[in-house]
């Protein structure tokens, strides 16, 4: 499981991941989410400078199966958006932890990230719930 869910990331129950560097977090969706969704065809993300709120919907991801909401792992201001995803959503399918990242946000409260699941906890959560 370790390569499916890298140890340096934190995870939500809604299958988003966050990578903390200083007070910045990079956000994306997990391998489990990608496999459940199937081929992703469109991503709708907030714009630079907008605020996202922990546990609130910050965007949507559309696959051949369904449109799903994206839930923010933390509150903060959007610093960067992975713009190439709008033309090439397949990056999320191909590499959800690197090229398929979605947002970089300035984290308002670092404790929110610390409270997320570790890779091991997330793997256990998946085992119990799916």
């Amino acid at each position: 499981m370790s390569s499916d869910y890298p140890n340096d990331l934190r995870y939500t129950k809604e299958h988003e991941w966050a990578r903390l560097e200083g007070n910045r977090a990079t956000i994306g969706i997990t391998k489990f989410a990608v496999e459940s969704l199937g081929d992703i065809t469109q991503v709708d993300l907030p714009k630079e400078g907008e605020a996202i709120r922990k546990d609130a919907v910050f965007g949507t991801v559309e696959s051949v199966k369904a449109v799903s909401d994206l839930f923010a792992p933390c509150s903060g201001k959007v610093l960067k958006v992975n713009d190439p995803l709008s033309d090439s959503p397949e990056y999320i399918n191909e590499d959800c932890y690197d090229e398929g990242w979605m947002l970089v946000v300035e984290v308002a409260d670092l404790k929110e990230i610390e409270a997320l699941m570790t890779a091991q906890q997330y793997a256990e959560y998946l085992k119990e719930n799916h």
Binding site: S36, E62, V64
Partner: protein, 502 residues
């Protein structure tokens, strides 16, 4: 089960190129006489608005046009060809008597701008249909204007907004369970409301605690579908309505699944304030491309002042069109809505009568539960509660044991001669990576048809065990095989151009 076989297809079907790739330059279906008036220069008259180049229209004869569309129509699937178990859509059989009545010259030949004195029959029909729908739904009044379900949602939410504004209130939020139709949040956004999603509880029903936590002074309404898109009856609807009402909000019910309630539950008496009714679902008017749809909206007395204009009023023995409604949200559709659909729905309701409609609901629920009993071993249920008119299965077992998924099963069903059910919906059934099959057989299917359909699904499960690739590559019997849906969604080609055809 009896092992089923894919259908044999023996009729002559033409492979048909786009119409733009047929014909010959200069060919036309009409023989126009030579121009005998001075030619007009479009640029001189319209300047920059004039076309620089001729449009790339097909240049074909009348016979070519007729054959093209007739051939394409033979590729089609329809309720008159076979079972159409598309969950949430209520693909009911459209009785032929409806069509006959709608074609009576007294209805079909009317013009809506005729003086009301010459429209009395049509106005009487609409007035009566409004009363029948109110009787069925438990409402005070209804508007027949909305052209479809989503248009009904828009109308209902406009009335809810007007109701609050009339009381000097401006609540901003609408609460929507995550099992809702996708049109619900869209209708809220169009009305300037933000939506607050409510998670489905572990039992598949709306979670009362989540509702209590979300309902407050900002709550304009709750939009609830009952039975829900999971095919489950929201048993706590009265309690739910009370929570919303206490917060100052109204209860909007998406009536898409009304087919499960006829003669059993009148939503207006369960605390629902506004509900749209899909005539093209519950009341047998044509659906989809064969529509148009029709989405009347029923309201309780408190919302009556806000109904769209015009309304139809009866005075003595005559009917008049009423425009003077100062608090109305205004006109939402040209003339009176899709009147041809009103004729069909009225015909159906009068033909069935109250007892007949009740029996239709009972049969719809029975048929769904029959399929549930036959299929739940192979396809575990999304939620194990009593099903109403539709039932949601998952592919959990099949996927684990064979790698074959919902999409593959749906594609393979075509080879057995059936329209696939709704798949990967509703959302609570597909969270966690499961695939969902949402099956709604409707009341008119015979036990033989239901058995044959169940046999087909169970045969596909056997095929998936024996030869999963066969199912993963399906369909095999159709004119066109498995399409690249991902490419089509990522890089859609929406119109023909000369370049794209080469």
């Amino acid at each position: 089960m009896k092992r089923a076989q894919p259908i044999e297809t023996r009729q002559l079907l033409h492979s048909e190129p786009p119409i733009f790739e047929q014909g010959s330059p200069g060919r036309s279906g009409a023989s126009l006489p030579p121009l005998d008036v001075p030619a007009v220069d479009p640029v001189a008259h319209f300047g920059a608005l004039a076309r620089a180049a001729d449009p790339e229209l097909a240049e074909v004869s009348e016979v070519e046009v007729t054959r093209h569309f007739t051939r394409l129509s033979r590729w089609n699937y329809a309720i008159d060809i076979g079972l159409y178990p598309l969950g949430s859509c209520t693909m009911k059989y459209n009785p032929k008597v409806n069509e006959r009545v709608a074609r009576w010259p007294g209805f079909a030949g009317l013009h809506p701008a005729q003086p009301p004195s010459s429209l009395q029959g049509a106005l009487a029909l609409m007035w009566s249909l409004e009363r029948l729908l109110c009787e069925i739904g438990g409402f005070a009044r209804a508007t027949l204007q909305p052209a479809a379900g989503a248009h009904g949602e828009l109308a209902g939410l406009m009335m809810i907004r007007a109701y609050h504004q009339d009381r000097g209130r401006h609540p901003t939020q609408v609460l929507i369970p995550d099992s809702a139709h996708g049109t619900n949040p869209a209708s809220c956004t169009l009305n300037g409301f933000t939506t607050v999603p409510l998670k489905t509880g572990a039992d598949g029903l709306l979670d009362l605690d989540a509702l209590r936590a979300a309902a407050n002074g900002e709550t304009a309404a709750l939009m609830i579908t009952n039975p829900s898109t999971l095919g489950l009856f929201e048993e706590r609807i009265a309690e739910i309505a009370e929570v919303v009402h206490r917060a100052g909000g109204l209860v909007y019910m998406d009536g898409a699944n009304l087919n499960a309630l006829l003669g059993k539950v009148r939503p207006g008496t369960t605390g629902v304030d506004v509900m749209h009714i899909n005539l093209h679902k519950t009341f047998t008017t044509p659906h989809g491309g064969g529509g148009p749809g029709s989405g009347p909206v029923g309201v309780v007395a408190a919302l009556e002042p806000f109904l769209p204009t015009p309304t139809i009023e009866k005075e003595g023995t005559s009917y008049r069109i009423e425009y003077a409604r100062p608090k109305s949200v205004g006109r939402l559709r040209s003339f009176f809505g899709n009147f041809g659909m009103h004729v069909r729905a009225y015909t159906y309701i009068r033909e069935m009568g109250g007892e007949g409609l009740t029996r239709a609901t009972e049969m719809a629920v029975l048929n769904a539960n029959y399929l549930r009993a036959r299929l739940q071993g192979a396809f575990p249920l999304a939620y194990d509660r009593p099903s109403m008119h539709e039932v949601v299965f998952t592919d959990k077992r099949l996927k684990k044991e064979t790698g074959v998924q919902t999409l593959d099963v749906a594609k393979r069903l075509m080879d057995y001669g059936y329209h696939p059910p709704t798949i990967y919906f509703p959302l609570p059934a597909v969270t966690g990576g499961a695939g969902a099959l949402m099956i709604e057989p409707t009341e008119t299917e015979t036990p033989e048809t239901l058995d044959a359909f169940a046999d087909a699904l169970l045969s596909i499960v056997e095929e998936a065990v024996e030869n999963p690739q066969l199912v993963k590559d399906a369909p095999h019997q159709t004119a066109i095989g498995r399409l690249d849906e991902t490419l089509a969604a990522r890089k859609p080609r929406l119109r023909w151009t000369k370049q794209s055809s080469t």
